[in-house]
Amino acid sequence: MSPASEPSSSRRVFVVEDEIMIRMLLEDMLADLGYGVAASAGGLNEAIALARNSDFDLAILDVNLNGDAVYPVADLLMERGVPFVFSTGYGDRGLPEPYRDRPTLQKPFQLANLENILTSITR
């Protein structure tokens, strides 16, 4: 899935997060771990458009986007076969059935944990 135009061999991430400062944090942490950010979105419609049309290797999806559930984006990614991880501030509260087994990042983020989860879903 890595676009040919990208010279680096680093994996490229699609970040969906409605809070600007948290998006900035993820971008920095991803850079620190050697990942590139392919695209980022803060709202559901924008995220759906980008999930359809842009190239990336994996995605981080904030579960709640300004009150909208991110699941339509997750469905698109499952269709495309792109690995992804949810991020959430809701703690261990269960995700709906089709996503129950997806790995989940808890806010605030731990760098080592982020690295492990990203490695595990792209292995």
Binding site: M21, I22, M24, D28, E46, N66, G89, P108
Partner: protein, 531 residues
């Protein structure tokens, strides 16, 4: 005594000698009020009828009475039974024992028990039949009232069980209406009752028994007219042999009596149903087109049913109230769980924001002191954003409040350095946090390097809503002048990234123009963010 005197009088010659067989028989028949008769089976004629026998048929001793009259006097429903009983007796052992009704010349109905025995000739052919008769009307009446009593008890018992086990109001009122209509002997009955709905409003509903509901659908609900008032006010039972002759009847407009097309009512019985609390729950109403239908007994029975109904309705209402309180409690608990989840989400997001501020402040800080002061200022700005949102119950914030709060530390007494537009704009909670932080970064930068670093510097903040756009857009312009000459920074810091990040919400546009005369920042974003 009478009987004895009659028997004495019958004694021949007043002698004290022993009675003849005939005398003994007559005495026994008179003492037992038994009539005697004899019938010719071949000619089908009555050969003999005693005075008591004729009295059993409502006839005086001197009145004519033959078999044709007898047959005509038997109740039409029982005539066949009588004739069959005679035929059966002849065909079997000759013994007749039958009960039937007869109708007296005055129209009253009486019950007779007739016993007889056939007499056979030498060839074994039945020629005659003789026997006795007894008026059993009183016994039949007692039997009937016993049957009636046990049927009443059975129905009362049945509705008692049904009501005690039932918490469904509609079921209760229908059961009560049906039972009371049946037991009162009414042609039709109804139960008008008050209902309080979920919103606390009162309505009157009704059930019907004994007539199709359509017969009543066209009529309005009964009002507190003179006839209905004692029932709806709960002041007492109204029982009338003919309500049309009641002085209270027909006094009220617009119908003056029954509405046109109503089923005819002569006999009328109405019993209020009163709660333990004294509240009138409704009324039971019964009607019959004939006069003098409702007895005192019917009134007592219906009053008893009304008392049971009141208890059942009280229970149903209590149950309903308990149910709605339970569901309300469940709703509140669910809401609490939801709120707790939401709170957790918000706190965790805020912690991630603090994490973001900390790591990025650290990235750009030259010293521990620079980190400490920069971090502290940003956390204070974030806290200020939360204060603003708490005031609006996290519904959003006014743009004027946002800018004024951020600029407060930099204003002098006359506020002359800042020029803000008159119009105000409300922004959503997420945008409010981002804008507080963005303005905080712009203000901090201006205080260090820009217009707020020099007394003669000035700052102009302008905003407007472009309603014509779809969706409406918010346009903000931050313009500094009079400060030191501006140089564009070598790389984006926290503030620049944050401001540029605002544009990332669907098709926003942000420009940071580091003009030598002063920084100009324009932010053009959808007013409501993405839905």
């Amino acid at each position: 005594m009478n009987v004895l005197r009659t028997a004495e009088a019958a004694r021949p010659n007043g002698s004290n000698e022993g009675w003849s067989t005939d005398e003994r028989l007559r005495f026994a028949l008179a003492a037992g009020h038994l009539g005697s008769w004899e019938f010719d089976l071949r000619t089908r004629e009555l050969l003999f009828t005693s005075d008591i026998y004729k009295a059993n048929w409502g006839r005086r001793p001197d009145e004519e009475f033959d078999y044709g009259i007898l047959l005509a006097a038997i109740h039409p429903d029982d005539r066949e039974r009588h004739e069959k009983a005679v035929d059966d007796a002849v065909a079997s052992d000759g013994t007749l024992d039958v009960e039937y009704r007869n109708i007296w010349p005055d129209g009253t109905v009486h019950w007779l028990r007739v016993r007889g025995r056939a007499v056979y000739d030498h060839a074994g052919v039945a020629t005659r039949m003789a026997g006795i008769s007894l008026d059993i009307t009183d016994r039949k009446r007692i039997e009937e009232s016993l049957r009636e009593e046990s049927r009443t008890l059975e129905i009362l018992n049945r509705i008692g069980t049904t009501l005690a086990a039932n918490l469904d109001l509609e079921d209760i009122v229908q059961t009560v209406t049906d039972a009371a209509t049946e037991l009162s002997g009414a042609q039709f009955g109804s139960f008008f009752y008050n209902v309080v709905d979920d919103k606390g409003e009162r309505y009157m509903f009704y059930t019907i028994s004994g007539a199709p509901r359509e017969k009543f659908a066209q009529f309005p609900m009964p009002r507190n007219t003179d006839v209905f008032e004692p029932t709806f006010r709960g002041t007492g039972i109204v029982r009338s042999d003919d309500i049309r002759k009641d002085p209270r009847y027909g006094k009220n407009a617009p119908h003056y009596g029954l509405p046109k097309g109503h089923l005819p009512v002569a006999s009328y019985l109405a019993v209020p149903v009163i709660s333990r609390s004294g509240e009138v729950l409704g009324g039971l109403f019964f009607g019959h087109e004939k006069a003098r239908i409702f007895t005192e007994r019917a009134e007592r029975i219906v009053a008893g049913i009304a008392a049971q109904a009141a208890i059942a309705i009280d229970n149903a209402n209590l149950f309903r109230a308990a149910q709605s309180e339970l569901s309300e409690r469940r709703r509140i608990e669910q809401q609490q769980t939801l709120l707790l989840g939401e709170l957790n989400h918000r706190v965790k997001n805020t912690l991630a924001i603090v994490q973001s501020i900390a790591t990025q402040t650290l990235r750009h800080a030259d010293s521990a002191e620079a980190f400490r002061s920069g971090f502290e200022a940003r956390i204070m700005a974030l806290a200020e954003a939360h204060n603003l949102l708490t005031e609006s119950n996290w519904g959003g914030a006014s743009l004027r409040d946002i800018v004024e709060r951020v600029l407060t530390p930099y204003s002098d007494e006359e506020n002359r350095r800042f020029d803000l537009p008159q119009d105000d704009v409300q922004v959503g909670p997420k945008a409010a946090v981002s804008l507080v932080m963005a303005f905080h970064e712009l203000a901090t930068n201006a205080a260090k390097y820009g217009a707020l670093a020099k007394p003669e510097g000035s700052l102009r903040v302008d905003w407007k809503v472009i309603d014509a756009a779809d969706p409406p857009r918010l346009y903000i312009r931050w313009e500094e002048s009079g400060g030191p000459a501006v140089n564009a920074p070598a790389r984006d810091g926290f503030g620049s990234r944050l401001i540029r990040g605002l544009a990332q919400e669907s098709s926003g546009e942000v420009r940071l123009d580091f003009a030598p005369s002063g920084l100009v920042c324009t932010i053009d974003i959808p007013l409501y963010g993405e839905q």
